[in-house]
Symmetry: C2
Subunit: 303 residues, 2 copies
């Protein structure tokens, strides 16, 4: 009965960029609260070297905790084959790879060219076996890059084709640094869909310049039904200067529910999960409007 699917990426995208460190116990409480609100999929961490991003050092333990929650799809990020092996071992249901369309961001983020990343992803597709996790490629900086500036749409379309060819199950287009606008969203999702069909699945949007929900609406109009989002709008990329603020989960859920499009998420319980997040990171700035304004008088969630 969900008509859009929201993957909460705060425990990964949010915490890897937060100024303050969340304890492992607090992460577990937060993940549990998100699942209790009806969030069906959570990107719980990243299998990067702990010395590069210490906030992700407990990802194995968080994956294990999340796997114990009935019905929850557990996603982890892997930047390479080594990370994928750890994700396999941990038992994540889905592994997402950041594959940058910007050459400069790719080198800053994963120390590989886009072509080398495609080769890594291909190796992982081959090694996962029949019962292995779903593999997603998130095309990072698909709408522009703070390092490189403009990212040609042709580069994104070609990269998507290479990733489909490499055998990924699904592809997301990511506005890593919050440069996208609704016209660009419509154009690029349409072009990539024409190239890879239904393998194009998700929109990963940032609210850096306030256009997160407008871009989500534009993507929805183009047929996108899977969205990444982060509670309280936490998020960013440690290797993309200026990247900040994922689209705010609670505001995104409110938009869809108000439009009559069910998300399967209970807004009151989601706000409760935000409270738990706020308690765990009391000095971290949280974003979003719904938590401050509250639901409209007489508001009815989508049936």
């Amino acid at each position: 009965m969900r008509q859009v699917h929201i993957c909460e990426v705060g425990p990964r995208d949010g915490l890897q960029n937060a100024r303050h460190r969340m304890t492992t116990e607090a992460k577990k409480r937060w993940v549990s609260a998100l699942a209790a609100a009806g969030v069906e999929e959570i990107e719980v961490g990243s299998f990067v070297p702990p010395k590069l991003i210490p906030a992700m050092a407990d990802t194995e333990e968080i994956v294990r905790h999340a796997l114990g929650i009935a019905g929850l799809r557990v996603v982890a990020l892997a930047p390479n084959v080594k990370g994928f092996e750890r994700a396999l071992q941990a038992g994540a249901h889905k592994v997402t790879f950041p594959v940058s369309a910007s050459r400069r961001h790719s080198e800053a983020n994963v120390r590989m060219s886009p072509e080398q990343m495609v080769a890594q992803v291909k190796t992982c597709v081959e090694m996962r076996g029949a019962s292995g996790p779903q593999i997603e490629a998130g095309i990072a900086t698909a709408f522009g890059c703070t390092l490189q500036g403009e990212v040609p749409e042709d580069d994104v379309v070609r990269l998507a084709a290479q990733l489909a060819e490499a055998g990924v199950d699904c592809i997301a287009l990511a506005d890593t640094v919050g440069y996208a606008n609704p016209a660009q969203i419509r154009r690029l999702f349409r072009r990539v869909r024409a190239e890879v069909g239904d393998k194009l699945e998700a929109a990963h949007l940032h609210n850096t310049r306030g256009l997160g929900l407008a871009n989500a609406l534009a993507a929805f109009d183009e047929g996108v039904r899977h969205f990444d989002a982060s509670l309280g709008g936490l998020g960013g990329c440690p290797f993309a200067p200026g990247a900040s603020g994922n689209v705010v989960t609670e505001d995104l859920v409110f938009m869809f529910e108000a439009m009559g499009i069910p998300t399967g998420i209970d807004l009151d319980r989601l706000i409760e999960a935000r409270r738990i997040l706020g308690e765990a990171l009391p000095e971290e700035p949280l974003y979003g409007h719904l938590a401050a304004a509250g639901l409209p008088k007489g508001f009815c969630a989508a049936a």
Copy 2:
């Protein structure tokens, strides 16, 4: 060459609800800075009794100042015939009337029923004469009301028809309390346009629940080309509890310019006008993302 027209309502909608009072001299500097950025239309004040809203007591003087700026369209709000007489005297180019679709908001805001407000507007249309100002009716609480809750769409459509019949030049639909969602925006603008045709002109949106730009995009898709907005997202309604935050002018302009839709507004100079606003009200919270994040690398305004 402007494809969308933005009316800055901060000096009226923003300041009437601000916690701090702006001096008359600072208002003039702000209005001048807005015009210098290319803003073509500014709602500079409200002809309400000064004892009800002291922040609007200098509206005559601000109108006079604004009329001295070449090319600027000067708008003022009037809540009744008495306010309209003051607006006529002052020489405003356009007068906007708040006509609430919610009976309870109408009584709280203007101490009249919607029907009595339509009669007031009709009287003003008749008294303005051939060279009088343009008359706009802004249908307040068109998308819901914090006092009444749901506002039936039929009430909005009927009110629009009555206002068209009363002879107003143009009609705006206002989401006074930030309840609207994009599906509702599309539905209601379509219904009202079917009723009153091109007299339906503007969208007056609030960002209370973060949906301001998504709603603006939805309205644009429905053919709306006139938008009210407020620099730094100031705004609210003193007689609608919980109303806050107009859609943020600089973020709205950025969205359209990024989409290739010219607004005639220079973003750098608009951010300069925001700086002047911030200096004039140093303790007032300002909203919006663009001012913090800056323009994307290599950004080009619409041609």
